[in-house]
C-alpha cells in the first residue's frame, strides 16, 4: 500500500466516525425503563389507553442498602389515542425520557379489551422493533387503571412480583402454565387453538396508595395484586374463565410438568395428595369412523401432605394408587366434558386431527364428535418423615 493510499484509508476511517452510527448512542439515564405495559380499549368510544409502568432507578439500586426512601419504585404513565400508535406517540407529553421497551417483564390487558379482541394490540406490539414477545400476557380482572397503580410489597417492582409469582405458581401449584407469553398466544391462536392466560386483579385497599405505606403495612394480602384464575382465549378474544381448580386440570391435560396439590375423596373422607406429572401421551385412534383420543397420564405423588391416611402395607399402597388413578381420571374427564359442552377445545383436539388426518372434510365437526379417553397411572414417590400417623383423640372433629 502506497503512502497516499494509507493516508486516504486513514481519512476514510476518521470520516466513518462521523457516520450516523455514533449518533444513535443513548446514555442509560436518558431511557425510561418500562417494566410493565397495560392496554385498554373503551368499547363505546373506541379510545385506546396505554399504561406504562416505568422503573424509578433512584430506588432500584438495591445493592446500595435500604430501598430508596420515599420515592415510588415505579411510576405509571398513561396515554390515550384513537389507535395504539397514537396513544404511544402522545406519551412524550408526560414522559421525560426515551421509551425503552426491551426490558418489559409483562403485558396486561383489561378484560373488556380482551373480550373485544386483542388482535390489534398484538399486531401493534409485534410491529415494534424494540418490543419483546417473550414476556407473559395477563388479563386484568377489574379496573386496569387500578392494577397499574398498585404497588406490591416485598418485590417492589410490580412486574417482577407478577412474573416471580407466575414461576412459583407453575413450580408448586400448577395454577399457571409455561406457555403464556405473547408469542405463545400468537402462535397458538394462529393455529386456531385455544389458550388460557392468567388473570391478575387488585386486592382490597385500605385507602393508602403510596409505596411507603404499602411497604409499611403488615397485611401483605391487602393493597396489592393477586394472580388467580385463567382467561380462555379463542381467536384473540377472551371467551370465558377457568377457576383455579380447573386451571390445574387444564395444565395437567396440556402436559405441563409442575407440582400440584389436590384433594380426592377416599373412603368417605378426603385425602390431600401432592402430585407431579411425569409423562403425558396422546394417541389418536379411529373407531367406527370416529376419532378417539387416548390420553395417558403418569404421575408421581407423595403423601407428605396427607394427614388423613397413611398406607402401611404394599397392598394398601396399591389400593391407594388404584383409587387415585380412577378418581383422578374421572375428575379429568368431567372437566373435559364440561369445557367441551361450552364449545371450548382446550385440549386442542382439532389441531391434533388437523395434524394427524389433514384430509378430514370437516375438522370442526370431527373434533366435537371425537371421543376422549383418559387413563391415569400414579406412583408413590415420597412418604414424609413419619412411619405412621399419630392416632390420639385430638384430631379434626
Amino acid at each position: 500500500m502506497s503512502r497516499r493510499q494509507r493516508a486516504a484509508a486513514a481519512v476514510l476511517a476518521l470520516c466513518a466516525a462521523l457516520l450516523t452510527s455514533c449518533w444513535d448512542k443513548v446514555e442509560i439515564n436518558e431511557l425510561s425503563l418500562v417494566s410493565l405495559a397495560g392496554l385498554d380499549r373503551d368499547p363505546e368510544s373506541g379510545i385506546y389507553t396505554v399504561y406504562l409502568q416505568v422503573i424509578n432507578p433512584a430506588t432500584g439500586a438495591s445493592a446500595q442498602g435500604a430501598p430508596g426512601g420515599e420515592q415510588a419504585p415505579v411510576y405509571t404513565y398513561t396515554a390515550s389515542g384513537k389507535s395504539p400508535g397514537e396513544a404511544q406517540a402522545s406519551f412524550y407529553n408526560v414522559l421525560p425520557r426515551r421509551m425503552f421497551l426491551h426490558h418489559a417483564k409483562a403485558v396486561l390487558i383489561s378484560e373488556r379489551a380482551a373480550r373485544q379482541g386483542m388482535r390489534d394490540f398484538l399486531n401493534f406490539s409485534e410491529l415494534q422493533p424494540d418490543a419483546r414477545t417473550s414476556i407473559p400476557l395477563l388479563v386484568v380482572d377489574g379496573s386496569i387503571a387500578e392494577v397499574m397503580r398498585t404497588f406490591t410489597p416485598l418485590e417492589r417492582n410490580p412486574a417482577d412480583s407478577i412474573v416471580s409469582r407466575l414461576d412459583l405458581m407453575y413450580d408448586f401449584t400448577l395454577k399457571a402454565g409455561r406457555r403464556i407469553e405473547l408469542r405463545d398466544v400468537i402462535e397458538r391462536v394462529e393455529r386456531e387453538e385455544m389458550v388460557v392466560i392468567p388473570i391478575v386483579a387488585a386486592t382490597s385497599k385500605t385507602g393508602h396508595l403510596n409505596s411507603f405505606d404499602v411497604n409499611a403495612e403488615i397485611d401483605a394480602n391487602r393493597n396489592q395484586l393477586r394472580v388467580s384464575g385463567g382467561a380462555v382465549i379463542r381467536d384473540y378474544r377472551m371467551v370465558g374463565r377457568l377457576n383455579e381448580g380447573d386451571l390445574v386440570l387444564y395444565h395437567v391435560l396440556t402436559g405441563e410438568k409442575g407440582r400440584f396439590v389436590r384433594r380426592f375423596p377416599f373412603r368417605g373422607e378426603h385425602i390431600t395428595v401432592i402430585m407431579k406429572t411425569k409423562r403425558m401421551e396422546r394417541r389418536l385412534d379411529w373407531q367406527d369412523g370416529k376419532p378417539v383420543v387416548r390420553i395417558r397420564l403418569q404421575f408421581e405423588f407423595s403423601t407428605i401432605a396427607m394427614k388423613e391416611y397413611f398406607p402401611q402395607t404394599l397392598d394398601e399402597l396399591k389400593k391407594l394408587e388404584q383409587h387415585l388413578n380412577q378418581v383422578f381420571a374421572e375428575e379429568l374427564k368431567t372437566f373435559v366434558d364440561k369445557t367441551r359442552r361450552k364449545g371450548w377445545d382446550l385440549l386442542r383436539i382439532r389441531s391434533l386431527l388437523h395434524r394427524k388426518a389433514p384430509n378430514l372434510p370437516d375438522p370442526d365437526q370431527a373434533a366435537s364428535e371425537a371421543e376422549i379417553k383418559i387413563e391415569v397411572e400414579t406412583r408413590l414417590r415420597g412418604m414424609g418423615n413419619l412411619g405412621g400417623l399419630y392416632d390420639g383423640a385430638g384430631g379434626e372433629p
Binding site: 452510527s21 425503563l33 422503573i55 432507578p57 430506588t59 438495591s62 426491551h102 426490558h103
Partner: protein, 485 residues
C-alpha cells in the same frame, strides 16, 4: 630495545600514547614492574574495570618474581592473548587501546619483545538477584544481571551440554557493546541460527545499551502492538527455550535476554506453569486468558453495552447502572476514556516516583479518584470498577511487554465502542485476528500451533498436560516447522 615503527617504539611510547588517547583518565594505571635488574615490564589497565585482586596476586606478583611465563597463546583464547611484537605500531596501539577499554590488563616486556593482553574484566555491578519483573513463588529465584559473564554462567549452570553455543559479536560503532547469541547446536534449526546471525550482523547503530535496541532491529515487523521476540530476565526460562531449539540474544549491560522465535500462546506461559501441578497450571493459564480478554475488552464492552445495546444488560443490572449514572455529567464513553487515562497516569507516576512517596500516590489514587469522584457524582461507581478490573487483569500477564500491548489495544477498542458500539468492537476484533494471523516471528506464524493447527502441541497451549503425557523430546511446532525448511 623494541622495534621502531614510524619513529615510535612500543616499549617507550605505547603507554604514553594510550594515556594521551584516553585523555589521561583518573582510572588509568600504568605500572612499571621490575622482575630483574635490566628488565622493566609495563602493566597498563583501567582501574575501574578490572579485578584488582587478580592483577595484584597473579600478574604483578608473578612478573616481579620472574615466574610469569606464557607459551604462544592459542588463537581464540579469550583469557590471555599475545600480540605479535613485530606488527605495525599503529595496529598494535589500536588493539591495545581496545583491550584497555574493555577491561584487559596489558603487559609489555620490551626486553623480551613480548606483549600480552590478559582478561581481568570485572566491572562494578549488581550481584545475582531475584528477577524484578517475573517473580515466582516456586522455582529458582535467580535472575540475570547486567554482567554478561555472570549471565553466561547462569545458563551454563542449567545446561551442562557441550552443544551449547555462545557466539559473541560487538555491535554499536560508539558503544562497542558485547552481544551474545546463544543456542543449542544440536537442537536449534540451522535456518534460524543463520537468520538471527545475519539480522544481528546487519545492525548499523552507534550504540546498544539495552536489548530493546537489538529487538527493534531484528524483529519481523515494527508496526504491531505485539512483541515478536520474548524478553525475559529468568535464566531458567531462557534455558527452557534454548532446550526447545530457540535462539537467545544477550546484551552486556542489561538483564533482559531476547528469545526467538516467539508465538502468541507463549505470552500466556509463565515459568511457574512448569513448576506447579499440571491441573493448577492449567487453571492459572485459563485465568490469564480470561484476564487478557478482560484487560482488552472489558471497558469497550461496557461502553458499547451501556450506550448502544442496553437491551443486552440484565434488567436488574441496568437499573443499578442507571441509578449510578443519575447526575453524572459525562457520557459513559468519555467517562471510561477519562478514567483509563487517569489510571495510566497514576501507573506511570507510580513507576517514576521514589518509593517513599509511592504510598501517598496510591492513597490519592484510591481515595480521591475512586471514592471521592463517585461520591461527588463526577463518575459512576461501575466505571471505577471496570477500570479497576482492567487495571488488575492487565498485571496478570506474565510478559511485561505484552501487558503494554494490551493497554494500547484497550484504548483502540474503547474508541471503536464509543463510535460504533458492539459493531465497532467486532470489526476491531476481526482486524486484530487478521493481524495476528499475518504476524510472523523469524518465519514462524505467530499463532502456531493454533493456526496453522498442530494437535501434538495442544497439550501445552490451552492446557498444561502432566509431563508424562507430553511427547518426550518433542520440539515445539514452531521449531519443527523451521527445521523442515
Amino acid at each position: 630495545m623494541g622495534r621502531r615503527t614510524k619513529g615510535r617504539s612500543i616499549g617507550s611510547d605505547l603507554a604514553g600514547d594510550i594515556q594521551t588517547m584516553l585523555g589521561s583518565p583518573p582510572d588509568l594505571v600504568c605500572r612499571s614492574l621490575i622482575p630483574d635488574g635490566d628488565r622493566i615490564v609495563q602493566c597498563i589497565y583501567l582501574d575501574s574495570l578490572v579485578d584488582k585482586r587478580t592483577i595484584d596476586e597473579f600478574i604483578v606478583s608473578s612478573v616481579q618474581q620472574n615466574t610469569f611465563a606464557e607459551g604462544p597463546a592459542a588463537s581464540g583464547n579469550q583469557y590471555i592473548q599475545e600480540l605479535p611484537f613485530t606488527a605495525p605500531y599503529e595496529t598494535l596501539r589500536q588493539q591495545v587501546l581496545q583491550a584497555v577499554i574493555t577491561g584487559k590488563c596489558v603487559l609489555i616486556d620490551a626486553v623480551r619483545e613480548r606483549l600480552w593482553l590478559i582478561d581481568t574484566y570485572n566491572a562494578p555491578g549488581r550481584q545475582v538477584d531475584e528477577p524484578r519483573t517475573e517473580p515466582t513463588i516456586r522455582g529458582p529465584y535467580e535472575g540475570f544481571t547486567e554482567n554478561i559473564r555472570i549471565n553466561i554462567g547462569l545458563i551454563r549452570k542449567r545446561i551442562a551440554n557441550p552443544s551449547l553455543r555462545f557466539e559473541q559479536m560487538t555491535i554499536g560503532s560508539q558503544s562497542g557493546s558485547t552481544v551474545m547469541m546463544v543456542y543449542m547446536e544440536n537442537l536449534a534449526p540451522e535456518t534460524l541460527v543463520r537468520e538471527v546471525r545475519s539480522r544481528l550482523a546487519a545492525i548499523r547503530t552507534d550504540s546498544v545499551l539495552e536489548s530493546s535496541y537489538v529487538e527493534e532491529y531484528i524483529e519481523d515487523r515494527i508496526l504491531t502492538p505485539f512483541p515478536t521476540l520474548l524478553n525475559t530476565e529468568r535464566p531458567d526460562k531462557t534455558a527452557a527455550h534454548l532446550l526447545e531449539g530457540k535462539v537467545a540474544v544477550m546484551v552486556n549491560g542489561t538483564p533482559f535476554v531476547l528469545i526467538a522465535p516467539l508465538t502468541f500462546h507463549e505470552l500466556f506461559n509463565s515459568a511457574e506453569d512448569y513448576y506447579q501441578r499440571a491441573d493448577i497450571a492449567t487453571f492459572i493459564r485459563w485465568i490469564r486468558l480470561i484476564s487478557f480478554f478482560a484487560a482488552v475488552f472489558a471497558p469497550s464492552l461496557f461502553v458499547a453495552a451501556t450506550t448502544f445495546h442496553q437491551e443486552l444488560i440484565p434488567t436488574e443490572l441496568l437499573i443499578s447502572l442507571s441509578a449510578q449514572r443519575e447526575g453524572v455529567p459525562l457520557p459513559a464513553f468519555l467517562e471510561v476514556l477519562l478514567m483509563e487515562i487517569v489510571f495510566e497516569i497514576i501507573r506511570e507516576a507510580g513507576l517514576r516516583m521514589p518509593r517513599a512517596v509511592g504510598q501517598a500516590l496510591s492513597i490519592v489514587g484510591a481515595i480521591v479518584l475512586g471514592q471521592a469522584a463517585v461520591e461527588a457524582g463526577l463518575i459512576s461507581a461501575a466505571v471505577v470498577i471496570v477500570v479497576a478490573v482492567t487495571g488488575i487483569t492487565n498485571f496478570v500477564v506474565p510478559v511485561y511487554s505484552f501487558g503494554m500491548s494490551q493497554r494500547l489495544l484497550r484504548f483502540t477498542f474503547i474508541l471503536l465502542a464509543g463510535f460504533m458500539g458492539l459493531f465497532g468492537v467486532l470489526c476491531g476484533a476481526l482486524f486484530l485476528l487478521a493481524h495476528l494471523v499475518s504476524l510472523k516471528s523469524f518465519g514462524v506464524p505467530y499463532l502456531t500451533p493454533l493456526a496453522p493447527a498442530n494437535k501434538d502441541d495442544w497439550r501445552d497451549v490451552l492446557i498444561r498436560a502432566p509431563r508424562p503425557s507430553m511427547k518426550p523430546n518433542l520440539l515445539p511446532a514452531s521449531i519443527r516447522r523451521l527445521k523442515r525448511k
